[in-house]
Amino acid sequence: MIPATFEYEKVTTVDEAIAALSNDDTKILAGGHSLIPALKLRLSRPGKLVDIGGITALKDIKEEDGEIVIGAAATHADIMYHNLIRTHLPFFTEGASTIGDIQVRNYGTIGGSIAHADPSADWPALILAADATIEVQGSSGRRGIKATEFFTGLFSTALQPNEIITAVRIPLPADGTKGTYQKFAQPASRYALVGCAVVRFADGKTNIAFTGVGENAFRDTGAEQALSGKPINDENLTAALDAALQNVDVLGDHYASVPYRRHLAKVFLRKALLEVK
């Protein structure tokens, strides 16, 4: 498994990276854990790689203006071990620990995972449930894209070709917020066969996001409406489960047919809701 040839440039600032991206044939290399496997299989054959691994500013995890800001090049392990995350977003700690394995967590990055938009990746569900905004920068400047508007289809996102992700911003959850990530792993790849992230805010607002279920991770507004502002009791739980996955094209594959995956999604939604009750 040897990649086709490509040019390589290592950059140290975001501006340099964006400048280097002006060519269509160029791809960003962060941790490489989504890109390099594709290069080895020659499914991806960029003419040039721009390595952003040296932009230290992109690795920061900090609190800023009422938000937790996670740099795009922070690794899954950086996030998992970070005290700020453990304190304010413990379900990110929980979720990050289910990604890949130690080695992958040490090198794979949150930005890389989000940009790749694998339909079974874990971060998309987590950031959707957390009301995150994805901060991107391109030749025409910076912008924030709401997570709910970011994932647009199978391996596709709202990111423009000349843009790179710089950070993920999550509003600091108010006291009393509870979150959880419940995952049923595909046994071979350990990606999510279904993953359900739920955040229940102090005021009863409830965010529900799924990954692994459809072509891209999504918020389940039907299920959310059945619960938001209402107590999580048997009746409302049943209503939420009934309302979940309306109008969703559920995926079917070797490890989970459409009906089984639909069933699993509801099982894990129920687990998640009981967890944040």
């Binding site: 498994m1 049923f184 046994p187 071979a188 790849s189 070797h254 047919s257 699993l264 099982v267």
Partner: protein
């Protein structure tokens, strides 16, 4: 003979140091002077006619040295099959050519069309992409039972109905039918023993070089049996004399059967190394391993077991379609027949047995021996039937087994047990392992816990498997009569050095089994010397006289016995040398604890001094040759028959169908044990390969013949967090017919464990009122969930 107590001790392994420090030496670690690298152009189709192959652009690419296609090898033989199984009516087995490169059509995805050799791996990979192959896709056939239907696509144009052979064994079918008709209860199971991918973690690797001066080839190969590769490659494929080929299998990263076989790449690289006059290396990528390493199992079976009113088995009737894949691999034909049908007696007194097998070509990867080879299929069949029968008859599965076990026999005082399916078991105490297993489990408590769980809405199940296997492969005369084209003896050469240190050359090959430790324990024990004074040499055809290699749990039973024969010769000669020194008669010399002693006296001489005298024969018996160096061959009198009892306790999650293993108890009787630590390790690993089959693994082909899970992202390997700690114990019933009394431990775990797990899941479902007969392996959570919800 003497003993210093090394036999039976959990000695830490001699070979470990190089592996834990990163100094192992696997084939891909070797780079020879002027090394070149090969990459293959392979068929993307399961079945397709090759219209043209254009290598002209590729040949112009940087670093390319040579490209060969099937046309260049038109006059070269294919790789052979080592076992001939003829049709029931006497017709000869259909044995189509398995060419080194295909020229006419591809018969499975991955069939090799061209080999590209370049200065670097990168250049070879780039050039292989530039080879243009035009192909016309043909309809393909994947499923063995469908392949024999009229009108099915033909894998080989000259093999009608895709049948390689059909075969039967046991009592006449009329007798079995009559007994079955009389049965008070018949349990029937139609099932698939699914195809598995062996997945040794070291991918296959070969590196061949040719010396034009000596006209000698050297092939490094990740093989379980370097001499066998040399024999097959020289005599059947390339027609070169054996003394002009040296085959070396250095450290090999696991085999599990998949590295027994002579693969096309071995012969092709050897051929190429002479063509280009430089060494050529190829290492399989994992994707290639999935597509090319011979797969295991793949039986479609209908089995019926009849019982009388008391629960005694009265008859067993089995019909199996065995999928051989696109070509006959080296031992493929004996696996579903002589390694499967002959084990259908199990541990039971079943008086009437008939098995019928149809072996079929399909457009899939060739199938051959994979850890257990035929015996897991036989055990799965029997043990699933027994637990299911117990559920159907509302009997206890352990009691049902006790009722049907062959009574204990040691093979010495009591004769061996003659089965209805050709074999004679050597010795056994079958009820002993089950009793011990039940004790370890705390059977009554576990059943009580199961009931409590059921009352709380949880699904807990207990599954049994009491297995037997035929190992120590194998008596040459017997296998020869059954169609084997090789002898299955082993060689063992013991060279005592002048200083009394000992070098042992064995034809067995260690690729994880720890021979460098176990064999040294045997030799040091028998000669009364230190373990450090013994060196075990294996895996090189230039230093080891001959060998048939390691598979079929044969190394110690057959290879160890050959070493023992040489040790006996050394002691006998040593006695003559000692007698001369001690001025006594050789008949009066005893050898014990490393010393030759005149019986009834304190006159003695040490082993080291005798060794020195043999090489400095100044004062020496007149008619005795100098030296202390003996080579022996051992051909076993019978197979060996390890057996055991595996019990699984599982819980099934009602909501998801996910199975978790709560406990796994294994009591194995592998005869005498040289190193209990190593035997236990073999059992652990074997058990997990069986658990892998039961819960996780299975090759999945789509209707176009694409292997849809040909990567670790899709083919589920058992991992550390899927498994519990195991509870193991051993019972010892020595083998009566080999000098060490050993039976073999390599395959036991795999043979025993899969049915125990599946039986436990079925039992769990019955405990919740789901009277399910079978769930197809692997028992993925969806399959189990479907079984509960259909």
């Amino acid at each position: 003979m003497s003993t210093n107590g090394l036999i039976g001790r959990a000695v830490k392994r001699v070979e470990d140091k190089r592996f834990i420090t990163g100094h192992g030496n696997y084939t891909d670690d070797i780079i020879l002077p002027h090394q070149t690298y090969a990459v293959f152009v392979r068929s993307q189709y399961a079945h397709a006619k090759i219209l043209s192959v254009d290598t002209s652009a590729a040949k112009e690419m940087p670093g390319v040295i040579a490209i060969y296609t099937g046309a260049d090898l038109a006059n070269t033989n294919g790789v052979p099959c080592g076992w001939q199984v003829n049709f029931k009516n006497g017709d000869t087995m259909k044995e189509p050519k398995h060419p080194l490169l295909v020229a006419d059509k591809a018969r499975h995805v991955g069939d090799a069309i061209a080999i590209v050799i370049a200065e670097t791996k990168e250049q070879a990979t780039d050039a292989a992409e530039a080879v243009t192959v035009e192909m016309e896709e043909l309809p393909c056939v994947i499923d063995a039972a469908k392949a024999v239907q009229p009108g099915a696509p033909l894998v080989h144009d000259d093999v009608p109905n895709n049948k390689s052979f059909d075969w039967t064994l046991g009592n006449p079918i009329e007798e079995v039918n009559a007994a079955m008709d009389q049965a008070a209860h018949v349990t029937t199971l139609e099932f698939v023993n699914q195809r598995l991918v062996p997945n040794a973690i070291e991918p296959r690797s070969y590196n061949s070089s040719y010396d034009p001066v000596s006209e000698k080839y050297t092939l490094y190969t990740s093989s379980q049996n370097p001499h066998l590769i040399r024999l097959l490659m020289c005599a059947f494929v390339l027609g070169i004399p054996e003394h002009k080929v040296r085959v070396i299998s250095p450290d090999v990263g696991g085999g599990f059967g998949s590295k027994i076989f002579h693969y096309t790449e071995e012969a092709l690289l050897t051929w190429c190394s002479k063509q280009i006059g430089r060494p050529v290396k190829w290492t399989s990528e994992r994707t290639e391993s999935f597509l090319l390493d011979a797969h295991g199992r793949d039986h479609v079976t209908k089995a019926e077991m009849g019982f009388d009113a008391e629960g005694k088995i009265v008859a067993l009737r089995v019909k199996t379609y065995a999928n051989l894949g696109a070509y006959l691999s080296t031992f493929s034909s004996c696996v579903p027949t002589y390694l499967h049908g002959t084990l259908l007696q199990g541990l039971y007194t079943t008086p009437k047995i008939n098995v019928d097998v149809t072996a079929v070509f399909t457009n899939t990867t060739p199938v051959d021996a994979y850890r257990g080879a035929g015996r897991p299929e036989a055990t799965y069949l029997l043990e699933r039937l027994l637990d299911l029968a117990a559920l159907e008859m509302k009997a206890d599965p352990a009691e049902l087994r006790f009722k049907n076990f062959i009574p204990p026999f040691d093979g010495v005082q009591q004769p061996g047990y003659q089965t209805q399916v050709a074999l004679q078991y050597d010795s056994g105490n079958y009820e002993g392992v089950l009793k011990k297993g039940l004790e370890m489990l705390g059977y009554a408590d576990v059943r009580r816990q199961q009931q409590e769980a059921a009352n709380n809405g949880k699904l807990v199940g207990v599954g049994f498997s009491t297995y037997i296997e035929a190992c120590g492969i194998a008596p040459s005369a017997i296998v020869g009569a059954l169609g084997c084209r090789a002898g299955l003896f082993e060689s063992g050469h013991v060279r005592v050095q002048p200083t009394g240190k000992v070098s042992v050359y064995t034809g067995a090959h260690s690729h994880g089994q720890g021979h460098e430790t176990t064999f040294a324990q045997v030799v040091a024990d028998k000669l009364g010397i230190n373990l450090d004074d013994v060196e075990i040499v294996h895996g090189d055809s230039d230093s080891v006289a001959f060998g048939m290699g390691t598979y079929g749990s044969r190394s110690l039973a057959v290879g160890g016995s050959a070493i023992i024969k040489s040790i006996e010769k050394i002691i006998e000669k040593g006695k003559k040398i000692a007698a001369h020194k001690l001025e006594a008669s050789a008949d009066d010399i005893e050898f014990a604890s490393g010393r030759f002693t005149v019986k009834g006296t304190d006159k003695s001489v040490g082993f080291g001094e005798v060794a020195l005298t043999a090489y400095v024969p100044h004062v020496y018996p007149k008619d005795l040759e100098p030296g202390l160096d003996f080579s022996s061959f051992y051909d076993p009198a019978n197979f060996t028959y390890p057996f055991g009892c595996h019990i699984a306790v599982v819980e099934v999650d009602k909501e998801t169908g996910k199975v978790s293993i709560k406990r796994f108890v294994a009591v194995d009787d592998v005869g005498n044990v040289i190193n209990p630590m190593i035997v236990e390790g073999q059992i652990h690993g074997g058990v997990v390969q069986g658990i892998g089959q039961a819960l996780f693994e299975g090759a999945e082909y789509d209707e176009n013949g694409q292997l849809t899970n040909a990567s670790y992202m899709d083919y589920c390997m058992p991992r550390a967090d899927d498994l519990p700690m195991f509870e193991t114990a051993s019972q010892v019933t020595p083998c009566p017919h080999n000098p060490l009394g050993v039976k073999g431990a390599g395959e036991a775990g795999t043979i025993g464990s899969a049915p125990a797990i599946v039986n436990a899941v079925i039992d769990a479902l019955w405990s919740g009122g789901h009277q399910v007969k079978d769930i197809r392996m692997p028992l993925t959570s969806e399959r189990v969930w479907n079984a509960m919800n259909s």
